[in-house]
Symmetry: C2
Subunit: 235 residues, 2 copies
Amino acid sequence: MQYLKIMESINEQIEAGLLAPGSKFPAERKLAETFNTSRVTLREALSLLESDGKIFREDRRGWFVSPTALAYDPTNTDNFKTMAIKAKREPRSELLNAELLPCPRDAAKLLGVEAFTQVYKLERLRFLDNRPVAVTINYVIAEYFPELQEKDFIASLTHTYKEDYDILYSQTRYHIRTSSLQGEIAQALRATSGSPAMLVERVNHDQNGRLIDCDLEYWRHDAINIQSVATLIKE
Amino acid sequence: MQYLKIMESINEQIEAGLLAPGSKFPAERKLAETFNTSRVTLREALSLLESDGKIFREDRRGWFVSPTALAYDPTNTDNFKTMAIKAKREPRSELLNAELLPCPRDAAKLLGVEAFTQVYKLERLRFLDNRPVAVTINYVIAEYFPELQEKDFIASLTHTYKEDYDILYSQTRYHIRTSSLQGEIAQALRATSGSPAMLVERVNHDQNGRLIDCDLEYWRHDAINIQSVATLIKE
DNA sequence: AAGTGGTCTAGACCACGAC
DNA sequence: TCGTGGTCTAGACCACTTC
């Protein structure tokens, strides 16, 4: 199995620090020549390193060494910016889309609301050190946040909730699963359609127990490292 | 892009229920003929469905439709068996290996113990409805559990801890990240080397705050759906 | 304009699983 | 034993990125 040896060889170079995080690999044809193999076999090796989170691909741009994954605590209300800064990374966000619309089916299921309930949909692209790492989609129940459309959507939602509506998150229900990037989300992340991804879904309640919004977060799977601490109930 | 159309086509068949969970696909050569494409392109489509968790592969055995993923709460002390039964699935466990040894490097890092600390290493293979879904490796600090080797390792560790040592889990720190299956772990799961996986690492403390053990759980990534509820601290 | 990655073809051989 | 999946080759064309 050539591709396993190629994997190990590349892996060693990374672990030894010979390939800096974020740095670009040589062209596939050159690498294939270096390893004295065909392009297909080389790509097999690269794909496995990708699914292992060691390297990543930008569509039509090539292969890169993955930077350190961001530690992400799903039980933390810290917003993206705060989280990144704590980890000494440089965050940036772009608003992809913001609209008020009747709740689509997938969000209605998460929010448990009836058809035609008005929600705000916010789509944001998250960068870490200038690399696009996640697309986050928020659905916010409009009823609880009058005139939300006039707020600054680039700012943290948590912050707007607290400052302008006196609403805090108090309970969050989250799901985490592997998925794959498709269509516009893949494009925004500069990923090839079908790239492996981590999907974090959250449903949030406020201090009065009301369900106020939900998140769908599509992360490049090598960019995130879910971690948390749980105190267990003693039986 | 043929492979995207093939993906969608297969996906529709699954969603429509025409392909039952667990059922086997026709041979790759036949499928390729059906879709009027080459085997390589067909495998491209299958690989993407695999990384999306819709289908899975057993090494040299073929492709299968993924059963429903098991809901897994990392903050729950329920053992594997209880968890499976709650979800109306049929659990089974096999002991792969049990030994007393000086703590290996990776475990020492998690446990924060010194070199040569004696630990029990337990490797177990978990089945759901007769499908191998996870390899779990436990490292237990031997000092706290004298004569653990005489216990029944197929039984739940949680249960043994409680009944025989009066020790309960009280806090757990967990990490979740994507990984890939290699070597013996891949073999035990009937997976091809390099298959995508979900790695759950846990470090557990007892009711006295002592660090007592850690888990490394390698899951077939389509078999698990991490979910939990967190109550947030009000600022 | 050149080079690159994305996609695809039409084969091939081998070792293993199923029968 | 037969068919299957695992692996590999040596090309090809196109559209996009980069220069």
